[in-house]
């Protein structure tokens, strides 16, 4: 029933470069319609709810300040969290990378003699490809979030961090459920579909005593963990099982319990366009006779502390995974998530994924943006994504330009030449004159260029270019001054 193989298309080590992966999606009109329809709805709802908050900008500033402060003293807050959580009966584990986190989780499951687990949606577990690892070690994994069930049963990779099955429409869901749940008569009425999922899930909730989930926030002051969700499957997974394992990135910590006041106002509005998410679960360690008896927290680094050391890129870790950046992104709206070759798509993925990969992979992602800034405008914690994109572009270019094969790359050649010309007005003006003569070769009778060679052909793919005028501005200015004399 579950997919044992990782989704190679979402593994940055193997995924094709963004422009190539995007082509596959651009040729799929149904998927593009699904994505555009979904993000437009979420964006419109978000816009309405943000507009009704007079203090939205103050909330953003507060959230940004809290997150920045956390990152400045992350080590101390994590240790405080560990002390409080342990005192309350939790067991805290530290994992340097995905491999260590997977091993810690498998060891716990072996101690529990668990052959099956139920799971709350956690992108962090997708980041470390936990499911295929557990499956290959004999543990059956049952996702319980509706979108995750759709993806797990349909063997589809996620395309969004809040709404992972955003690219799948209702009739496609019907088809997957009908096939995998053995319900050929199923209609595509949303209520009927969710009822089918509910029946499928109830049995898992009531029989499987081990759960794995993520965390929206870790509270240093109290050692508490918070999970916000819409469907109630999380509440089931957090309360019914005997053993609960929480996997969380180290950046998820907040200093004080009161800080939730800021983030709970921002998150649901930014993420799903709701004033408040339906379920907010908060717990501290274990309580005898109430909820799980054993509670483990696995704190995952996996490249985060390296990002923390970089002054510009550090802000990437302020992210609270609301996905407003992808919902507002005109690039994501065309390509959906799969083109980003990572479980983290959209603008935040374009900066996070290459950094998690130490710029060894995913180098095309920082260029997968028109730098329009819509992401920064909506980000509830004010991550200046364009600024980080530019920083990463600079690093990638520095890395690439020393490579021999880049020497004759037309874009690199063109940019080096342009710099040589811009350094001297005389050279620049000569190039303009030569360019004017050269452009005549390509200019048609209507005065426009319809087709260009090499990199220029990428432009004339869909746009014409007006032929070069007979006189540049500075030539006009020089003549005008002469005439005036």
């Amino acid at each position: 029933m579950t997919t044992a193989q990782p989704h190679a298309e979402l593994d940055p080590r193997f995924a094709p470069p963004f422009p190539q992966a995007a082509l596959t999606v651009l040729r799929n009109p149904q998927l593009r319609r699904n994505v555009a329809h979904a993000v437009d709805i979420i964006q419109a709802k978000r816009g309405r709810l943000v507009a009704e908050k007079d203090d939205w900008q103050q909330l953003r500033s507060a959230a940004s300040a809290i997150r920045s402060h956390v990152l400045e003293s992350l080590g101390a807050y994590l240790e405080e969290f560990e002390v409080r959580c342990t005192a309350a009966g939790g067991i805290v584990h530290w994992a340097t990378d995905g491999e260590e986190a997977r091993r810690i989780i498998l060891d716990i499951l072996r101690q529990e003699q668990a052959s099956e687990v139920i799971k709350i949606k956690t992108m962090t577990s997708a980041e470390i490809q936990l499911n295929p690892f557990l499956e290959s070690n004999g543990v059956r994994v049952h996702e319980t979030d509706l979108a995750e069930i759709i993806l797990q049963l349909g063997e589809e990779p996620p395309s969004h961090i809040v709404v992972p099955a955003l690219h799948v429409n209702r009739s496609q869901v019907r088809e997957i459920f009908a096939r995998k749940m053995g319900l050929p008569e199923l209609s595509d009425d949303p209520q009927i579909l969710t009822a089918a999922a509910r029946r499928y899930l109830r049995e898992k909730f009531l029989t499987i005593p081990t759960a794995i989930g993520g965390a929206n926030y870790l509270i240093a002051e109290t050692g508490s963990v918070a999970v916000v969700e819409s469907e109630g499957n999380g509440r089931m997974c957090l309360t019914l099982p005997r053993t609960l394992i929480t996997l969380a990135g180290i950046e998820k910590v907040l200093p004080r319990f009161d800080d939730l006041e800021v983030f709970l106002q921002l998150l649901a509005r930014s993420a799903t366009g709701e004033r408040m998410n339906p379920y907010t679960s908060l717990w501290t360690g274990t309580v005898k006779g109430d909820g799980p008896e054993r509670f483990h927290v696995v704190l995952l680094d996996n490249g985060r502390s390296r990002i923390l050391r970089r002054p510009v890129e550090r802000q990437t870790l302020k992210c609270i995974r609301c996905a407003a950046c992808m919902n507002s992104c005109p690039v994501y709206r065309q390509t959906g998530g799969h083109a980003y070759g990572s479980v983290y798509p959209g603008p935040i993925g374009a900066i996070l994924t290459p950094q998690l990969q130490q710029l060894q992979h995913a180098q095309s992602l920082p260029f997968a943006s028109s730098l329009c800034g819509a992401c920064y405008e909506v980000c509830p914690v004010k991550i200046n994504i364009p600024e980080v994109l530019l920083e990463l572009r600079s690093q990638v270019t520095r890395q690439e330009r020393s490579q021999a094969r880049r020497f004759f790359d037309p874009l690199y050649l063109g940019l080096r030449l342009a710099n040589f010309l811009f350094a001297s007005p005389r050279r620049f003006h000569l190039a303009q004159r030569l360019g004017r003569i050269g452009a005549r070769l390509f200019t048609r009778k209507d005065g426009w260029i319809h087709s260009l060679p090499s990199v220029g052909g990428k432009w004339t793919l869909t746009r014409d270019l007006r032929g070069l005028p007979d006189e540049t501005f500075h030539e006009w200015w020089a003549n005008r001054k002469k005439e005036a004399r």
Binding site: R32, F367, L371, A374, L415, P425, Q432, R463, R466, E475
Partner: protein
């Protein structure tokens, strides 16, 4: 009042009529316009593609050429945004403290065209006459980095004979993005198609804006598709009078 025109490399080469319009407009408003002939490029293309050392030489050239002038006026919102947002980072990274200080002294005197008209000259009615239906494209850099807000609309509202056509999703990017348009040509084209649907739905005769790069992108597709609409920089609309009509871009 004196203003030095920084025309930008692509306007100089591809859209000189925009520069001529800025000169006509500013002179009509009583500004003494000058032009520094040694200017070339602001470095935006290099900076946005990750070529920071090259962008640095362009940035240094700009500061050296303009540090003494009274005002710099630039008819390109993305080039102004490049200076305000990226020059400080570039000077920091390449460690030139003197240049950075000179830049900080200069930058308050660097204006995008609509900023210069509205904020500095406080001229909303510039005496323009342009009897056409026009839609306005708020380029992303003008909208989000310069925060031009309602300045362009206030200027257009005073143009005699002009009808402003409302544009749906006016804050959505056209997909140009400089080298993005060739590095990710297919995605850029898809964004262009989406934008053009909204633009053409306005049934305007002209699409205007404050950045010829977006207009080159949209206008190039209009021409390819025989869309029956033309792009025109706002300077050309504002410069147009009953006696000397605008030089259209196509």
């Amino acid at each position: 009042m004196r203003a030095s025109l920084f025309i930008t490399c692509y306007n100089d080469t591809l859209y000189p009529e925009t520069g001529r319009a800025v000169v006509a407009l500013l002179e009509r408003l009583g500004v003494e316009v000058s032009f520094e002939p040694r200017q070339t490029c602001c470095g935006q293309m290099h900076a946005n593609t990750g070529f920071r050392p090259e962008a640095f030489s362009q940035a240094r050239r700009f500061v050296n050429l303009y540090r003494e002038v009274e005002h710099v006026v630039i008819p390109s919102s993305s080039c102004v945004a490049m200076m305000r947002e990226q020059y400080p980072t570039i000077f920091d990274e390449l460690g030139d403290e003197i240049l950075r200080r000179e830049f900080l002294a200069l930058i308050p005197r660097v204006y995008e065209l609509s900023e210069f008209l509205v904020d500095r000259l406080q001229a909303l009615d510039v005496g323009a006459y342009f009897p056409h239906r026009v839609a306005y494209h708020a380029s992303c850099h003008g909208l989000r980095q310069l925060e031009l807000g309602d300045r362009p609309y206030r200027l257009l509202a005073k143009v005699r004979g002009m009808e402003l056509a409302p544009l749906a999703n006016s804050d959505r990017c056209c997909g140009f993005g400089g080298t993005f348009s060739v590095k990710n040509a297919e995605v850029s084209s898809a964004m262009l198609t989406t934008k053009l649907e909204d633009v053409l739905a306005t049934r305007a005769e002209y699409l205007t804006g404050l950045d010829n790069s977006c207009l080159m992108h949209l206008g190039g597709a209009m021409h390819r598709q025989y869309a029956g609409m033309t792009t025109i920089h706002m300077a050309q609309i504002l410069a147009a009078t009953a006696d000397s009509p605008a030089e259209a871009m196509a």
